[in-house]
């Protein structure tokens, strides 16, 4: 007899992922975003330190609405990656690895990184 076909569906838009899985997924996404931002950040720093004109140009980039939006995206990526990373290090030491604790710390990572992003948004956009 043929075994019944198992439903195999890893489309995150169709299956309901637990909050711990979302934090893990976003840890990866934010890591890749930070990687992509690194060469751009180094380039901007290089321009800003070259001469007074370069400093003005770089300041202009980050003063532009698109630049502020990019800075805000970077802030969220950094904050999420940072706090999810601390959570990961704690889990490696078996701190908070029970299901209830892991759920709580996942929610904390989402909330704290959102709060950091909102605080920076308020500072940048007011």
């Amino acid at each position: 007899m043929k075994p019944a076909a198992r439903p195999v569906d890893f489309n995150p838009l169709r299956i309901r992922l637990p909050v711990t899985a979302w934090v893990s997924l976003l840890h990866r996404v934010s890591g890749v975003l930070l990687f992509a931002a690194l060469p751009m950040g180094v380039a901007a720093l290089s321009v800003s330190l070259a001469d007074a004109g370069g400093f003005q140009r770089a300041a202009g980039w980050f003063g532009h609405p698109l630049g502020k939006f990019a800075l805000l995206g970077w802030t969220w990526a950094f904050a999420h990656h940072f706090f999810a990373g601390l959570r990961h290090l704690a889990l490696d030491l078996h701190w908070g690895s029970s299901l209830a604790d892991a759920r709580r710390s996942s929610i904390a990572v989402l909330v704290v990184s959102a709060m950091v992003t909102l605080a920076v948004a308020w500072r940048l956009l007011r």
Binding site: F35, L45, L49, D51, F55, Q56, G85, L89
Partner: protein, 114 residues
């Protein structure tokens, strides 16, 4: 034969990722605060911030730790999602050149300050 683009150094790379994570978790907030507390700055003040040798060395060491950390992470992502060996190896090369290039460019920038 080992798989050319496989993972056969798991424990070592895992340890590198965790060790660099600890270094970055300590170093980046300190460097970030050093820069944020100096804001707002003009060009002269901005340059003065990166003038001390200790600051330059700290920035380049942090960037090196970041490059190692990002290499392990990106390698994991590519191992999970990119199946064809040749494509994966080419993307590894892109990642390595990007990371090594960023660290080298940062060092060159900081040491070309007058």
């Amino acid at each position: 034969m080992k798989i050319a683009a496989g993972s056969h150094t798991g424990t070592g790379t895992w340890l590198v990722q965790r060790a660099t994570a600890v270094v970055l978790a300590l170093a980046l907030p300190v460097l970030g605060m050093r820069i944020l507390l100096a804001l707002p700055v003009d060009f002269v003040g901005w340059r003065a911030l990166f003038q001390p040798v200790a600051m330059r060395v700290a920035c380049v060491l942090a960037a090196a730790a970041l490059a190692l950390h990002a290499w392990v992470g990106l390698r994991d992502v590519l191992m999970d999602y990119v199946r064809p060996t040749l494509v994966r190896l080419i993307l590894y090369l892109v990642v390595i050149v990007t990371l090594a290039g960023s660290v080298a460019a940062l060092a060159a920038t900081l040491w070309s300050l007058p």
